[in-house]
C-alpha cells in the first residue's frame, strides 16, 4: 500500500442479512460521530446507501443478521471473497438468535404455512416465486458456520459505543499496515 501512503482511506461497508435491522439502527445512533467516520473512511456499501453491487477490495464490513435464505448465502459468500475483515455484527450474526427460532419447528415449509396460510387475512398461499420471497434454507445459520469470521460483536443490538470502538480498532489495525 506504500504508493498511496498519505491518501489511504479505508473502505468500509455494512450488510443486512436476516436480522431486524436493529443493529443498523444502533449504528445510526452514532449520530454526529458518523460525520467523523466519513472523514476517515469511505462507506462503499450499505443498506442505507444506494449501491446495488457489493464492491471489490473492502477493508472491513459489519454484517448484521443470520444466514436464512439463498439470497443471504449468495451475498455473504461474495462479501467474504471481497473483504479483508468481516465482523459478525450483533447476536443474529453471532448465534442465529431470534432469526433461528424457527429451527426447532422443523423445515421451512412448516413456517411458511404458518405465516402465509394459517395467519393470512386475505389470499392465503405460499409465494413460490423466489424473486419475491427467496428460498429459505433448511436451517438458519450463524455467519461463522458459513464463512470465516474475523471478529464478533455481541449484543442485541450492540451499543453504539461498542460499534464505534470496534470500527476504530479495525481501521486502526488497517492503518498500521500502511
Amino acid at each position: 500500500m506504500s504508493p498511496q501512503k498519505k491518501h489511504f482511506r479505508p473502505r468500509i461497508a455494512t450488510v443486512w442479512l436476516a436480522g431486524c435491522s436493529g443493529c443498523h439502527m444502533s449504528f445510526l445512533d452514532l449520530d454526529e460521530w458518523l460525520f467523523d467516520l466519513a472523514e476517515i473512511a469511505d462507506v462503499v456499501f450499505s443498506p442505507i446507501a444506494d449501491v446495488k453491487e457489493y464492491p471489490e477490495n473492502v477493508d472491513a464490513v459489519l454484517v448484521e443478521g443470520a444466514v436464512a435464505n439463498e439470497d443471504n448465502l449468495e451475498l455473504i459468500r461474495k462479501v467474504r471473497a471481497r473483504t479483508k475483515i468481516l465482523v459478525a455484527f450483533g447476536d443474529c450474526a453471532v448465534t442465529g438468535n431470534v432469526t433461528a427460532l424457527r429451527n426447532p419447528l422443523g423445515g421451512p415449509e412448516v413456517f411458511l404455512e404458518r405465516a402465509y396460510v394459517q395467519e393470512a387475512d386475505t389470499q392465503p398461499g405460499i409465494p413460490r416465486d423466489h424473486s419475491v420471497v427467496p428460498e429459505l434454507l433448511p436451517r438458519v445459520l450463524p455467519l461463522h458456520q458459513v464463512v470465516k469470521v474475523d471478529a464478533y460483536l455481541r449484543g442485541c443490538p450492540p451499543s453504539p459505543a461498542a460499534i464505534r470502538d470496534l470500527l476504530l480498532s479495525a481501521l486502526g489495525g488497517e492503518k498500521e499496515k500502511e
Binding site: 459478525a88 447476536d91 448465534t95 436451517r139 450463524p142 464478533y152 455481541r154 442485541c156
Partner: protein
Amino acid sequence: MKVTTLTINGELVSASPGATVLEAARENGIRIPTLCALEGLSTVGACRLCLVEVKGSPRLQPACVTAADEGMEVSTDTDRLRRYRSMILELLFAERNHVCPVCVANGHCELQDRARQAGMDHVRLPYQHPDLPVDITHARFGVDHNRCILCTRCIRVCDELEGAHTWDLAGRGTNARVITDLNQPWGDAVSCTSCGKCAEACPTGAIFKQGSTVGEMEHRSDRIRFISAARARKEWSP
C-alpha cells in the same frame, strides 16, 4: 481438628478440615468458576466447569467434589483448563435454545456471566436447536426446558431444604429433563408447596416467576445459602 495445608497456583494455603478444593480456594480468595455448585446444597459435580489440575493425576478433577488433601498441588487457571472451560460452556449453549435477548434471565444469568468471564465470543459447535416445551401450568412459576442446563440445583434445593422432592431427573443424554412429580405438569404436582426455592436457586432462565418478561427474572441464590446457614449453624444474618 488440624487444618489442611496445600498449594494452589503455587501458593501455600490452608483449608478447614474436610474442605473441598473449591472451598479451600474460596477461603483463600481464589476464584474457580462454577455452575452446578450452590452454597447450602450438596455437591454433585454435574457441570464440570470447576475442573482443576492436580499434580500427579493425569485426569482433571472437579474442585467442588474433590477433597483438599494435605500436600496437594492444585492449578486452577492453566491454558488447558481455560480450553476445557470454554468447550464446556460452548457445549451448554449449543445443546439447547439459549436465546439471551428474549430470555427472562438476560443480564441476571450465571451461564451468561460464566461465558462473559471466560471471554466466549461465539460457539464453535453447531447449535442443536431441539424442540423443547415450556410448562406454565403452575400458578406462580414456570419452567422453560430450552434454558435448562441440568445442573440439578432445583432437585437438590427442593429435596434438601424444602423436603418436598417435587423435582427429579428423567431420561438420559440429550433426552434428559427435569420433571415434577413423576413427570406430571407442574401445576398438577401435589408435592409442590409453592415455596419458590427452585426459582431462586436456578442459575439460568429455566425456572422463573410467572409474569416475568425479558430480563426481569432475578434469582436470589444467596437466599438459599442464608436458609441453609440459618438452619445448620443458627446464623440468622444474611
